[in-house]
């Protein structure tokens, strides 16, 4: 008996026509989607149909042949390798782009090149102008109001510019913080969309649809996500019912330790734990929330890749003589297990029971279950009390071992990974643009604290906005400290006072000093009533730069608050022209001293309190003049960072572009290929039609033309 019937050629031709038509449809779909973003070229899957089964009594010479063509599905032409490489490179590009963007915006504020007059920077020019005015004061105007006012005016301009720069930096910091929040929202939006697509793809897969268009959308979203952070995409399977497996997308962070962001229809959300509204020095830590399905249900349990350990000898609880203890009841066994757990946490305990012939194991309060479903359900209940199981150090998922006993009394050790609560990401755990933005917002370079170094040992070499803000604060503080010290003489030198002696608790004489007013009363502490000594009767020095325009407070001066002091502004204080007693009217020794200070080198210190004075625990991170601090340190560092990041970005971009082109070569629609396919399917269609016509005429001959 032939495997193909007399009329089967009609079916064969029909299948050929059908396959060609479907092929032409797929080609048409490809052509029309040539400009669709993220579209992956589709191909028709075809195989040859063979209908005959093995025939025990078949004759040796019997012809066996195929029965036509079957086109059951459409596939995409993707290369997973290229996807992985492209996304990894995209992460590098995202990171470098974000860093460069931060430096660019910083440069708009701090970079002074070609912004001032005569080739000087703005701040640099103002420093020079102040020095010029000070020199004029020393040369021609010592003691003259007009010259003092001109110097004050130039200093006013300088400190205002420092204030403006500080405000601009603070605003940039705020806008970057908003950008981070926005980026986190974007990531959550992407995750949500991928989750929704996963739901659709899963549902379609159950009904046999391959959801190619949804997968395209998902791939586009994964590409987008990869610029925010390094991702690891795994295509696993999920058994939705016995024998029916559908694809399950697992999405993890691509850095160590890997954090699960999505598991099929369960997805996490990203949030900022310590943002700008929490404290002055936020670290903008990021957290992953628990995995939830679209309805807000939490995933509790899943078996890990660690698999099943079978027939492991777990032994039994032994008494002092080494004999296994048998318990009369479940309750007694439970009681013993509980007691042992209390006594020695972290070890395994087994309790042997004989009543039903099975073994029951107690471990961390969980019990052995007979089936994995029971175990899952019971453990899910236990996991509601999450605090008991969260790793106190990382807050991360831990593993649970559950023993399942089969009907023969054999047991299996199933290892489950349990998702619970939120996951707090470590400081250096992420990569991509999110991490670059976090670093722009938080990195302090040389100003980093021990806490920062504990979080990231590379912290001292990373510079974000806080570094530049603190550097500017240091400059303002050191400028104010230098000028204020130069413009004041010690109280005991200029004010009337009396030397005192007191006796301490050890009987030692301790010298002291009390200040007196015009009537000879002791007024120590009330400086407004101190009386100048006759030889300093013209003294009018004092604090030149303060932390507010309405005060003479020289403490805690920063770039944002540095001001001309109230008394200098209202003329009560003047620039001190001499430090000598009874100075002649032309004396200007102190003015020359101040000029030297303005031009000379200073040490700039770091500490973590926001005040940059020298202390035993601090170190000078730069030594040079004020202008050099600005140009040779702050701007030069920024310029170097910018240049290096630009080179790095360029390298990564070249690489990413190359990968994109290669990937597009595989998955993109090529018009030449499609034109070939069109001709191919057109010809096969015609041929199949011709086949049908030919066979029709043959059969016509057979039916109507034979034996007539």
């Amino acid at each position: 008996m032939a495997s193909v019937s007399t009329f089967s050629v009609f079916t064969m031709a029909r299948l050929g026509i059908y396959a060609s038509q479907q092929g032409l449809s797929v080609t048409g779909n490809n052509v029309t989607n040539i400009n669709t973003d993220g579209y992956t070229r589709q191909t028709l899957d075809q195989y040859s149909l063979h209908m005959a089964a093995a025939d025990r009594y078949a004759a040796q010479g019997q012809l066996r042949m195929g029965a036509g063509v079957i086109a059951p599905s459409v596939s995409q032409t993707r290369d997973i390798y290229l996807d992985i490489r492209y996304r990894n490179e995209n992460t590098n590009v995202g990171s470098a782009t974000e860093k460069l963007d931060g430096l660019h915006q910083l440069g708009n504020i701090l970079d002074e090149v070609n912004k001032g007059d005569d080739g000087e920077g703005v701040l640099e020019g103002m420093f020079n102008e102040a020095i010029d005015q000070l020199e004029a004061l020393a040369a021609e105007g010592a003691g003259k109001d007009q010259y003092d006012g001109l110097f004050r005016g130039s200093m006013q301009t300088l400190v205002k510019q420092i204030n403006t720069t500080a405000v601009n930096l603070a605003e940039l910091q705020e806008s970057k913080a908003l950008q981070l929040q926005n980026d986190v929202d974007q990531v959550n939006d992407i995750l949500k969309k991928i989750q929704e697509l996963n739901v659709t793809i899963r549902k379609n897969a159950i009904y046999g649809d391959r959801s190619l268009e949804q997968k395209d959308q998902r791939n586009t979203l994964l590409d987008q996500l990869s610029s925010y952070m390094r991702i690891d995409v795994i295509y696993g399977t999920e058994e939705v019912s016995r024998g029916l497996n559908v694809e399950k997308l697992i999405l993890r962070t691509g850095t160590d330790p890997q954090r699960t962001m999505m598991e099929g229809i369960y997805s996490t959300k990203l949030s900022i734990r310590n943002g700008s509204d929490e404290g002055d020095d936020p670290n903008y830590d990021l957290d992953f929330a628990d995995l939830e399905d679209p309805h807000g249900n939490t995933i509790i349990l899943r078996e890990t890749d660690l698999g099943v350990v079978k027939n492991r000898d777990i032994g039994a609880v032994e008494d002092d003589d080494g004999e296994a203890i048998n318990f009369p009841s479940q309750e007694a066994a439970q009681e013993e297990a509980d007691r042992l757990n209390i006594n020695a946490q972290g070890t395994e305990f087994q309790v042997k029971m004989e009543e039903d012939g099975s073994i029951t194991v107690h471990e961390y309060g969980t019990t052995v279950y007979r089936t994995s479903e029971d175990a899952a359900l019971a453990l899910a209940e236990i996991e509601k009390d999450r605090s008991k199981y969260v790793d106190p150090f990382s807050g991360e998922v831990t593993r649970r071992d559950v023993r399942i006993i089969d009907n023969d009394g054999q047991y299996e050790l199933h290892q489950f990974e349990v998702f619970r609560g939120e996951v707090q990401l470590h400081d250096t755990e992420l990569s991509g643009s999110l991490q670059a933005l976090r670093e722009t917002l938080t990195e302090k370079g040389v100003f980093c604290s021990d806490e920062d170094l504990a979080r990231d040992e590379q912290a001292a070499g990373k510079r974000g906005l806080p570094f530049y803000r603190k550097a500017l604060d240091t400059l303002a503080y050191t400028l104010a400290e230098t000028l204020n010290a130069a413009n004041q003489l010690p109280d005991e030198m200029i004010y009337e006072s009396i030397v005192t002696e007191t006796v301490d608790e050890n009987g030692n004489i301790v010298p002291g000093r009390d200040y007196i007013d015009a009537d000879g009363h002791i007024v120590t502490g009330d400086k407004s009533r101190y009386v100048l000594k006759p030889e300093y009767k013209d003294y009018n020095g004092g604090v030149l730069l303060s932390n507010h325009g309405n005060s003479n407070d020289e403490n805690s001066i920063t770039a944002a608050n540095i001001s001309i002091s109230r008394n200098w502004d209202n003329g009560s204080f003047r620039v001190l022209r001499s430090r000598e007693a009874n100075p002649p009217s032309t004396a200007n020794d102190n003015l020359n001293h101040m000029i030297n200070l303005m031009n000379g080198a200073h040490e700039f210190f770091t500490n973590n309190e926001g005040i940059y004075e020298k202390a035993s625990s601090t170190e000078a991170f730069f030594t040079g003049s004020f202008q050099e601090m600005l140009t040779d340190h702050v701007m030069s560092t920024m310029g170097t960072d910018y240049r290096n990041t630009e080179v790095t970005l360029n390298n990564y971009t070249v690489s990413a572009d190359q990968l994109y082109v290669n990937r597009d070569g595989v998955q993109g629609v090529d018009l030449n290929d499609e034109a070939m396919n069109m001709m191919k399917y057109q010809k096969s269609y015609s041929a199949a039609c011709r086949l049908m016509t030919t066979f029709d005429s043959m059969l016509d001959k057979l039916i109507n033309g034979m034996a007539v």
Partner: protein, 152 residues
């Protein structure tokens, strides 16, 4: 002791210069791969091997110098913190420069690796498509009898 610190900082500069050379080799290798110039790729790889030997010897030197300074196993990031106060600025600057050079080298090496691997991936796909046994493919020997397995 001061001389030892200065010598170490000078050594770090030298290491940075070596990384610069390596970065240039990586760039040359990328260009050669793009031109399909196997001879040039081979030459670049020979240069890489030579530089890697230099770097290995420099690493021994670095270990020895750090031990002499009493800073064995101190990473580059911790150098400034462990230096005496008077050398910290210099130490930080040297470490910063070296780190920046390394970052640039890494990105250049990444490009070279990507370019090379993409080409290899293409070759593997063709071999797979044609159903060939890759172990039996003829080795393309270069003049002088040498050959380079660029998959290494």
């Amino acid at each position: 002791m001061g001389d030892s610190y200065r010598a170490y900082f000078a050594f770090l500069e030298k290491l940075g210069a070596e990384l610069d050379t390596l970065t240039n080799v990586e760039r040359a290798k990328t260009a050669a791969v793009k031109r399909d110039d196997l001879m040039a790729v081979n030459e670049c790889m020979r240069q890489e091997q030579a530089i890697s030997l230099t770097l290995r010897s420099m690493d021994h030197q670095r270990t020895r110098m750090l031990a002499e300074l009493g800073m064995a196993d101190v990473p580059l990031s911790g150098l400034a913190a462990r230096c005496p106060l008077e050398y910290r600025v210099e130490a930080r600057a040297a470490a910063d420069r070296l780190r920046a050079k390394y970052d640039i080298y890494r990105s250049a090496a990444d490009v070279a690796r990507t370019t090379l691997e993409l080409n290899l991936h293409e070759i593997e796909k063709i071999i797979e498509k044609q159903g060939l046994d890759r172990d039996r493919l003829p080795v393309n020997r270069l003049p002088g009898g040498s050959f380079a397995d660029i998959r290494a």
